[in-house]
Amino acid sequence: MSRAKEKPEGAPRYAMTIDLDKCTGCGACMVACAVENNVPPAQSGANDRNGTTLMRVYAMSNKQVYPHAKQVFVPMTCQQCEDPPCETVCPQNAVEYDWTTGIVAQIPVRCLGCRYCMVACPYHARAFNWWDPTWPEGMEATLNPDISTRSRGTAEKCNFCHHRRQLARERAVHEDREMCEDEYQPACVEACPVGAITFGNLEDPNSAVSKGFAKPEAFAFVEKLGTKPKIRYLSSQKWVHDMARSGVPGKEATNG
């Protein structure tokens, strides 16, 4: 893939690090994500497989017994791969690698609902809308106007809260200045009470996220697949690294 050729000069490449040593598995990121992105409350009959969850916290255990038992929580969302397998399989061009931000864009209105992308994604990061979104009466007033709702029959995933970048840019233009990095932060980053998630521009060598990528504790899940994810997890524990290398975390773990 020749991404570099398409990339405009000076364009950012957004990335994220998630520190598993800090994560307590509280699930605030999941809630913040659902609220920010107009994810409707679960329909009756929805379960782990067919409910809509753009951010999901898995519990990953080393499957040992006491006193060797260990567990970490893994917030799993779209890994924003540099070579996204979901993009190449989409028959509709509803998935697009955005070279101006490095975000893998999902455009639900283009989606015809074949779910090929969900099969292709090794991270189970995509959700399918099995139901039309509905909110309890009066709750429509809490919807976020900066992002559209998705209809039944479309796949969706995390877009790194791209609409927040648009708003930050508007404000920067209004105030005649450049946009600062901390102005554009996804909802999960803001919500994390322990500051486990760091978000920023990977093209900037001084950004916190670039420094996080360079740490020896940094790893990506199933790197061997070559999808080049732009989310790195940080852990000081060797068994976590070993397990992340070996397979799909959803398979190893029970849902948290």
Binding site: E96, D98, T101, I107, S148, H162, Q166, E170, V173
Partner: protein
């Protein structure tokens, strides 16, 4: 005998071309129906709750577009003015037009916002930054919205009965001849201009 033959030939000529004539008549009829009568059936027309004279505000009021259609402090576009903004000048009737009287009695005095129909309102999944176009791009309001500021009345709002969107977004003509945003505000309109100005068009730039 020969007369009869000629008469028979004439009849058979007419009957031989009858099919063609019927086909042409039908075709012309359907074309007229399709191009003249059918398109208006696709739209419902709604009058705005009040008449509004932009020109009088510009000329006699000495106002500019941004006086009533400003940017908010965070750079987002405020679109239509609130009743409070209108009431700053229109607490008492100015002039004696019907619409002015109705505005004061039905809206200003009871403090009720006017439920205007917005001609250029985009579908929910479209994102458009006014400030990026006006301030960074240097566009004037007229380049996309036409000479709306000099209109003396506002036309009925037309809705496409299938999509539910405004006709100003979908375009007036059926054959898709329009290219300028003053005539049509479809995705092609945006992307054509972006390509023309050398701006690239990732999906997320305009979709949310």
């Amino acid at each position: 005998m020969s007369n009869q033959t000629r008469g028979g030939t004439r009849r058979s000529l007419l009957s031989r071309h009858m099919g063609t004539l019927m086909f042409l008549a039908g075709l012309i009829g359907m074309l007229i129906f399709g191009w003249v009568f059918f398109p208006p059936m696709l739209y419902t027309s709604t009058e705005q709750p009040l008449q509004f004279n932009h020109k009088i505000h510009m000329d006699e009021g000495g106002m500019e577009c941004a006086d009533c259609h400003p940017f908010r402090a965070d750079g987002t576009f405020a679109s239509l003015p609130t009743l409070q903004q209108c009431a700053e000048c229109h607490e008492e009737p100015i002039g004696d037009s019907e619409a002015e009287k109705a505005f004061i009695d039905e809206y200003v005095t009871p403090g009720k916002e006017v439920n205007w129909y917005v001609y250029s309102r985009q579908p929910m999944n479209a994102y458009f930054s006014h400030i990026a176009h006006v301030k960074t791009g240097g566009f004037s309001c007229e380049e996309c919205h036409g000479d709306h500021g000099n209109s003396e009345s506002i036309p009925p709002y037309q809705t496409n009965i299938i999509s539910g969107y405004s006709r100003a977004v979908g375009g007036q003509a059926m054959a898709g001849r329009e290219v300028l945003p003053t005539e049509v505000m479809r995705m092609d309109t945006c992307s054509d201009c972006h390509i023309k100005h050398g701006r690239r068009t990732p999906c997320l730039e305009c979709h949310k």
